[in-house]
Subunit: 317 residues, 2 copies
Amino acid sequence: MLVDLYEAAKFLRSAEDAVIITHRSPDGDCIGAGYGLKDILAELGIRSRVVCHDVIPKRYAFLTDGITNEDFEPKTIIAVDIADTQLMGDYEKIYGDKVQLCIDHHESNKNYAERTLLRADATAACEVIYDLAKYMGVNISRHCAMCLYTGIATDSGCFKFECTTPRAHEIAAEMKRTYDINFAKINRNMFDVKSRGRMKLDAQLTDLMEEYLDGRVVIICITQEKMKELGVAMEELEGFAPKTIQLEGTEVGILMREREDGVFKCSFRSAEKVNVSQICQTLGGGGHARAAGCSASGDISEIKEYLVEAVRKALDE
Amino acid sequence: MLVDLYEAAKFLRSAEDAVIITHRSPDGDCIGAGYGLKDILAELGIRSRVVCHDVIPKRYAFLTDGITNEDFEPKTIIAVDIADTQLMGDYEKIYGDKVQLCIDHHESNKNYAERTLLRADATAACEVIYDLAKYMGVNISRHCAMCLYTGIATDSGCFKFECTTPRAHEIAAEMKRTYDINFAKINRNMFDVKSRGRMKLDAQLTDLMEEYLDGRVVIICITQEKMKELGVAMEELEGFAPKTIQLEGTEVGILMREREDGVFKCSFRSAEKVNVSQICQTLGGGGHARAAGCSASGDISEIKEYLVEAVRKALDE
């Protein structure tokens, strides 16, 4: 059931021993939302722990270091930034059908929770959580602000993408006026600083780009073998997807990352015209109009053919 | 003489047949400031023309197309985003000692004008001009907003760099609530879309990076020959400078671009510690703490040695 700020706030105040579930292949928004919400619950005197199917990438350690995920039998189950229980990984079996509150911003949200606070027009789940905290009059600590800023910045490509709302800018302005936080350092670590392996991979970008439909579609496929060759971890490929639409004239870009043998995480980016969330939903995934994803397994060539065909149809419409 | 908003506004209202000078190697901020101010003067019934020593890069055509730079004997001389008359190129001789109002945000501004509206803490000259227009109660047209947004976005690396003020975010929020502008398209064209030549150059980034002082300093030098080889124009190298500080551990990056035979435009970027504006001022240039520039001519190796030595001193302090 979709709920508003009033009902979400009422539920949060009554929460007790909460588990906060984040999605697999965690990014800045789900980590920021998870740990930001944990801070807000702490202000309310409620203990909680953030869980994730995958290991949190090192670059987010500044948000998670020193934070204790307490051990208890959970009484409240919350999901953040999760459109579909599939994205919980191993936690789907344990909590998938027991989520009492989901806070999200994906238009493809499956409405699987008892209560869903969904703002599909929000830049990030962190934007929704910031507004929820303000609505509740709960103090937003410096650490909480860092978490929420990180989510807004990473999901918006640092205020670059179409999903960037006026509200995202207002929140950034409020935070910059309120907290002594090195925002530029966060941005630098999220967007600019790269390992030598990642630098080498970036250098191979043009070689890796496969153009289809006269360059309107670009696929970059990074296999396990390629990652091994360059010494790059899967997590270091976050932020690589937008590169698939950098070439003049490209409308849709797809980054395929081999998660395990023959299983690919496919991240779609759209320049302007195509709603890639709709495409990904037909492929069992979801997301936003200009950034979405799905999984695919099997023969690489067949997957590519299939994905290009799906985009071709959307471009023809 | 430094002036405040009141005096700048009073002067602008009395302007007549104005020339607005922008700096050579024009970027989004001086072009946005020039054409944005032209719109504001038009609202006041004052005709004007924007001049620049260099040709305006194609990517800014969306701001300049269809705008008439009227022909007249100027009575008012205004400079925007120009810290030093040297940066006017050929216009220095004509107007260098006649500037009646300079609107700027460079801490290194030489105070060469009769009146200087300087806000060294502003993200961009466009931020100063937006606030000036608001102060004056002048209507900001959609085109003017596009100009001023472009300047703020480009000078801040799309709200990424340390120079990004809360005010920059507030202005972006106000604009997004007020105007029907495709901001994401502007951002995409400013930051992401690349020609094949520029893509090839990006692919050579790691090969072009020369590391000094254990990687704390990186120099990338792009000669005329290299540009010819790749079919890349000088103007396409804008936005390349931040790449010099992408490697983990790099504190200062320098992009050297050969403007003409043996004459290099040197763009400095600083990650966190070093004030590169101070370094560039000792080399006859200027700018901001984390982004500054100067010119150098002569033997490439000697220039590099000289620049590295200047940074070494600053790092030792």
